[in-house]
């Protein structure tokens, strides 16, 4: 991912900053300019999520893609935040301890890097609560 592209959304990654459609009261993370339910009639506001939720599903990945800072085998999961939206994240916990439905909590970690000389990507991951 190129530098301007990462920079554009880094605030949203660091702080779980998404959006809220006040017309239908639906929350979105990642942020969306258009509410899929209301489309043009939706009034969109910025919203910062608390970072707590539960694990909907997961896998244990043996081969991390390049540039991702994770030590295989690592847990990748889909988290449903308490406010509603879902996101994909590494789940920091021992593969033997992970279970569907467990509570998770956000933490600030290194996600990856462009290269040893390149930009470091920081962002939000989740740990078992």
């Amino acid at each position: 991912m190129t530098v301007p592209r990462f920079w554009r959304k880094l605030k949203h990654r660091y702080n779980l900053l998404g959006t809220h459609c006040t017309t239908c009261d639906t929350y979105y993370y990642p942020p969306r300019k258009i509410c899929p339910k209301c489309r043009r009639t939706g009034k969109i506001q910025s919203h910062q999520f608390k970072g707590e939720g539960k694990l909907l599903t997961y896998t244990i990945i043996q081969n991390p893609p390049e540039k991702i800072t994770a030590q295989a085998p690592y847990v990748l999961g889909i988290v449903e935040l308490d406010e509603g939206p879902r996101l994909t994240s590494q789940i920091i916990c021992h593969p033997e301890e992970v279970e569907i439905g467990m509570r998770v909590q956000s933490v600030f970690r290194k996600i990856g890097e462009e290269s040893a000389q390149g930009m470091i990507y920081y962002g939000t991951k989740f740990v078992k609560n």
Binding site: Y14, N15, I92, V107, F108, R109, K110, I111, Y122
Partner: protein
């Protein structure tokens, strides 16, 4: 000097630990004598995706959560570390963004070996005292590196502490500060080199002890106080023996050293070391009690502080993780895993 002090504080310690035994076994050394010589049993190790930046952010977030405050009030952020991941590009701006303090603030990174964090505290005190800012955030955060097989491996640890400095709503007042600084090549790292060089025994008497004892002594002279006037004393903790000896030399007791003495099960968190001891004391200190803290940074210098705990500290108890909570429930790892986490194996 106007009444300036600590408004809140936050701590972060990664959950992995490696025991002295594990390191000693790798290098064929005697764990028992190392433990006795250093008075350190285990040290903290960062996860593979943790670094001085992520640790600084977590400590800062804990400081904000403890107080439940508006981060936009923070108008200066200074992070001190000897393991900033970028040599050029500040840690403090990443912290600023990650705590929601941008854009109306000043920021910079500090470096002065293990006293970079306390130097940041002094800078914030100045800005706050001069009325230039509302609140300042001073952080000491490190993922310290010791070369494989070097004595420093036993103690070089990871952790971070953040102090929010302000003028009102204080939980502790910083009544005075005094620093001793000389040009002293006891420990350094050249640009591009992965591990530091140090002078062995040279880092003791002429470096650590001269500066800490000089700064602490100088502070007491400046404030007309003696060791008896303090309930707690906190020193920089490169190992267990040095702070115990400094305390004895200055005339402090083991009881005064006790609560802030965190190194045996944590290791030396470098820029966060003395600050971690101070945080551990604040976790338990009662209103009205008095603390002397003296950091030490190789190069060399010591910043000493006279701190008085205020009533408001009781309201903030338990609002964020304490040092002892973070030291509980460690996850022990092997040397191999440790080497992977610390990037010691170059591929």
């Amino acid at each position: 000097m106007d009444s300036v002090g600590i408004v809140s504080y936050g701590v972060y310690i990664p959950r992995y630990r490696i025991k002295v035994d594990e390191i000693a076994e790798t290098w064929g050394e005697d764990a028992d004598s190392i433990r006795k010589g250093l008075w350190v049993f285990e040290k903290s190790v960062p996860d593979i995706d943790e670094d001085a930046v992520t640790i600084a952010v977590e400590a800062a977030r804990n400081a904000i959560v403890r107080r439940d405050m508006d981060p936009l009030r923070i108008e200066a952020i200074y992070t001190g570390s000897e393991s900033h991941p970028y040599v050029v590009k500040p840690t403090s701006t990443i912290v600023a963004e990650a705590i929601g303090a941008t854009p109306s603030l000043t920021a910079a990174d500090f470096e002065f070996a293990c006293k970079a964090g306390t130097a940041a505290i002094q800078a914030c005190m100045g800005l706050v005292g001069a009325g230039m800012i509302d609140l300042g955030l001073a952080i000491g955060s490190d993922v310290a590196q010791g070369a494989p097989g070097d004595a420093l491996e036993y103690t070089a640890a990871a952790g971070g502490v953040a102090f929010i400095i302000g003028r009102n709503e204080l939980i502790a007042e910083i009544k005075a500060t005094y620093s001793l600084t000389t040009d002293m090549p006891d420990f350094w790292r050249r640009d591009g080199m992965p591990y530091p060089e140090h002078g062995g025994r040279f880092t003791g008497e002429p470096a650590y002890f001269k500066h800490i004892i000089g700064a602490a002594g100088g502070l007491m002279e400046k404030t007309s106080t003696t060791p008896k006037d303090y309930d707690y004393v906190v020193f920089h903790q490169p190992n267990g023996k040095f702070p115990m000896r400094a305390a004895a030399t200055l005339g402090f007791t083991e009881e005064q050293l006790g609560p802030g003495f965190v190194v045996p099960h944590l290791g030396n968190t470098y820029s966060g070391s003395a600050m971690m001891g101070l945080a551990a004391v604040l976790d338990v200190a009662e209103p009205g009690e008095s603390i002397l803290m003296a950091s030490f940074g190789s190069g060399a210098g010591s910043d000493a502080f006279e701190i008085t705990v205020l009533d408001e500290i009781e309201e903030l108890r338990g609002k964020a993780p304490s040092v002892s909570e973070l030291l509980e429930r460690p996850t022990y790892i092997s040397y191999a895993t440790y080497a992977r986490h610390k990037g010691k194996m170059k591929i």
